[in-house]
Symmetry: C2
């Protein structure tokens, strides 16, 4: 997923949901670029992970899609459904909780 390592595992859905929450309607390639920017190049999403994840979230009813023609190319936009908005919030909260717990376990200052 990136050159930072396997720590990302399990965070991909959270990242995708939060990007969509903050940015609204976004397409796959754009998500990879935004994450790259926000992480200053340290998180490079692979498409092999991203697209299946988007499809999974859509299948779970958290995302809805819209296809738009850009010239002769199809661009597929994703946006959060109402359930998706709730889930985005929950996932971020869960991540914050996880970080706090890890701070205790690793005995480091994170928050």
């Amino acid at each position: 997923m990136t050159h930072s390592p396997e720590l990302l595992k399990g965070t991909l859905q959270t990242i995708v949901l939060k990007i969509l929450k903050d940015h609204g309607r976004t397409y796959g390639y754009e998500i990879t670029q935004r994450v790259k920017e926000l992480s200053e190049g340290s998180i490079l999403l692979t498409e092999g992970a991203l697209y299946p994840t988007l499809h999974r979230l859509e299948a779970e009813g958290l995302l809805k899609t819209e296809k738009v023609m850009i010239g002769k190319r199809v661009r597929k936009y994703y946006a959060l459904t109402p359930d998706g908005k709730i889930e985005a919030k929950d996932r971020v909260a869960e991540f914050i909780g996880f970080i706090k717990t890890m701070g205790h376990v690793l005995q480091v200052e994170l928050a």
Copy 2:
């Protein structure tokens, strides 16, 4: 691994190394208990994950072992090798860096 979810993936080695660094010589079961205490019950290491991880770290030369008889039972103590100490430090630093990056990506205050 716990009821908090798959966020733990990829953090197990870091946790084990840091516990051994802070506590010194520790045995497997004791590690599960310490992590449980430090995490206030929210991280429950499963043995199916822990023991293979300990064996892996030992095979990589990061841990050394010592068997001690406690009554009629064998207890297997693990401790960091010099390489293990370096690795523990690096892993924790890497985790902190990961958290900072995630803070940017998720646009939340973590530190």
